[in-house]
Amino acid sequence: MYGYLGIDVGSVSTNLVLIGEDGTVKQSFYLRTRGRPIEVVQQGLKQMQAALPDKVKVAGVGTTGSGRHLAGVITGADIIKNEITTHAIAASNVEPGVQTILEIGGQDSKIIILRNGVVADFAMNTVCAAGTGSFLDQQASRLNIKIEEFGPLALQTTVPVRIAGRCAVFAESDMIHKQQMGYNVPDILAGLCEALVRNYLNNVGKGKEILPPIVFQGGVAANAGMKTAFEKALGYTVHVPPYYNVMGALGAAMLAREATNRKSTRFKGFEVAEMDFKAGGFACDGCPNVCEVVEILESGKVIARWGDRCGRWSNALARHEKIS
């Protein structure tokens, strides 16, 4: 039996998904990146190998997320695509006919508009509306509630408090102010969700035509308070797909299946988990830009370089056929 592996290395989480030839999810893992993407990818591969029956053969690998190039280089990916494409692919498979995808992750938030099954438009957070996931995490821990309780608590509200959500710093100080005024926690949490949704729609949505069916995905979609706030603001039902937090990896796996159609995979095998990878680097002194060049080493041998503006170092390694 053949399987296709998708790896999404984000700022907060690293996800691995293995799909079968029919596109159904066989295995999925959600790990914390903890700032160590190489280790986490290796750890994820180990877990994946342990969880799979021996007869499964990986016939293709795709990577996505902000660490896609890194993950792609160390695993030998067949395709390296960014989050927007993989999210669109995954969502339109899970929810056929989807017209709007709301995506809020740890650092990024984006909106993808599909029409007739094709991506017609997209936007990512620019000046603000960033770090929504991390911000919710931080507020939950400040209020000493578990992030899992955040959503259910927010739903208990009777009157959501209006919170200034222009940016995280203002939102936090306004929240504290409202707490000092004596509002209770559920109302404040619900108000925070509404503020973040308002901010998202203003800064990311920017007047784009949001039509149903709407899919809400990314780690923040776990938060029922956010889902309800979106429904209230948009006036439509918002669907949270079953694999909402691994959609990027799912899309990458699907793209890997497409890319390896009648071709052999470049995947280096699960042995990658045991190999010795190191990231080194140096500051190039070729010009006043002083680019910080990063080197990825596999058992002491440089397998990739990036970071230089001029291509002096990255072009020095024979570049293979383009895969992204």
Binding site: N93, G117, V118, V119, V290, K322
Partner: protein, 365 residues
């Protein structure tokens, strides 16, 4: 007198040629870099746009090399650039630099106004020689633009990664080395041959994207994080809506050279969406987007420095143009806070979107 002028892409090549032909000593500031920007950001007002910060940095770096006279373009109208020369001069004076300032304003009535300023810099040169010098500089600008255009064609089609960049560097070196007008045509031929020698796969399918927006951001690769090269490597043939030679002809020569792409047509195209001058290149941005749509380009990317008023006006109009003419448009705003990873993700996503759309509107998976 040691003259310095700010960087704007490859503009230094043509101005250096012109001034040195007229026996003016020139100091070319080091290429705009993080250091340049750092110097500028430190001393400029935060909400000034990126060109001002970089210009300031250029002048400060040039002062270390002995420059004492600033030559800069001026302007009028809603774009703030018009008074940048004076603001920068004032900031530099406060910092203790002793710079003399010469502002080349676009001639309002007659090209003589411009010639007068140039005469001031060049001293006792004959008019004939001054005009020859300007023509020499202009020819160099044309040559550089021609090579850049060729690189835009080659990059997405190159067989070996990086071959175009290398050829362009060598070709530009040929142009830079020329110091008398008579030798320029031969050097240009050699440079063109170098570009033609890049092995290409001419049957590779490529996307075509037009770049519109504010001129400085378009021309200066440091500010736009080398967007032309990045797009080229993603398999996109880029067309830049403004080239230096076109701009010189339009604004400084007042259309003296004929048979060039002119902004006249572009403005006509813009009128339906934006009926009057908003400063800078706001109208051109809208008009060029319309033109690119009519010419069947796959997409348009608008570039602007953060806080640029004319481009913000254009940005708010682009969604309507995009919807009515069916051309996807994306806006990228740059300033010293711009991160490269974010830009790359957006470019990749945009190019992916266009590629998928081009495959006969192929339905996702």
């Amino acid at each position: 007198m040691k003259v310095v002028y700010p960087h704007m892409g490859h503009m230094w090549i043509c101005i250096k040629a012109m001034l040195e032909y007229l026996n003016v000593e020139v100091v070319v500031p080091p290429p705009s870099s993080k250091k340049t920007l750092l110097l500028g950001v430190k001393h400029a007002p935060e909400f000034a746009c990126m060109p001002l910060k970089l210009n300031l940095g250029n002048f400060m770096e040039a002062a270390e090399l002995g420059a004492d006279t600033i030559v800069m373009a001026g302007g009028c109208g809603p774009c703030r650039f018009g008074y940048y020369a004076h603001v920068e001069h004032a900031i530099l004076r406060d910092l203790g630099y002793r710079y003399q300032l010469v502002v080349l304003e676009p001639p309002q009535k007659h090209i003589g106004e411009l010639l007068g300023k140039i005469k001031h810099i060049t001293g006792h040169q004959s008019w004939r020689r001054v005009i020859n010098g300007i023509r020499f500089g202009y020819r160099k600008a044309e040559a550089v633009d021609k090579l850049e255009r060729m690189s835009h064609y080659c990059r997405p089609r190159e067989i070996q990664a990086g071959a175009t960049d290398l050829a362009l560097q060598n070709a530009l070196r040929e142009i830079i080395a020329v110091n008398v007008p008579e030798k320029l045509p031969a050097a240009l031929n050699r440079a063109v041959e170098m570009m033609n020698a890049v092995p290409l796969d001419k049957h590779r399918p490529v996307l075509r994207i037009g770049l519109v927006g504010e001129i400085y951001t378009l021309l200066e690769p440091f500010t736009n994080l080398d967007i032309e090269r990045k797009l080229g490597n993603l398999g996109v043939e880029v067309d830049r809506s403004i080239y230096l030679s076109e701009w010189i002809n339009e604004h400084l020569f007042m259309g003296l050279v004929k048979n060039m792409r002119s902004s006249h047509l572009v403005r006509q195209k813009a009128v339906k969406y934006l009926g009057h001058f908003v400063g800078g290149h706001g109208m051109e941005t809208v008009g060029n987007t319309v033109l690119y749509a009519e010419e069947g380009y796959d997409g348009v990317i608008q570039l602007l420095p953060f806080t640029c008023m004319p481009e913000i006006v254009a940005q708010s109009i682009l969604p309507r143009v995009s919807a009515e003419l069916g051309i996807p448009a994306m806006t990228l705003i740059v300033d010293e806070q711009s991160g490269e990873a974010g830009l790359v993700t957006r470019l990749e996503a945009f190019v992916d979107l266009l590629a998928r759309k081009k495959q006969n509107g192929e339905v996702l998976a």
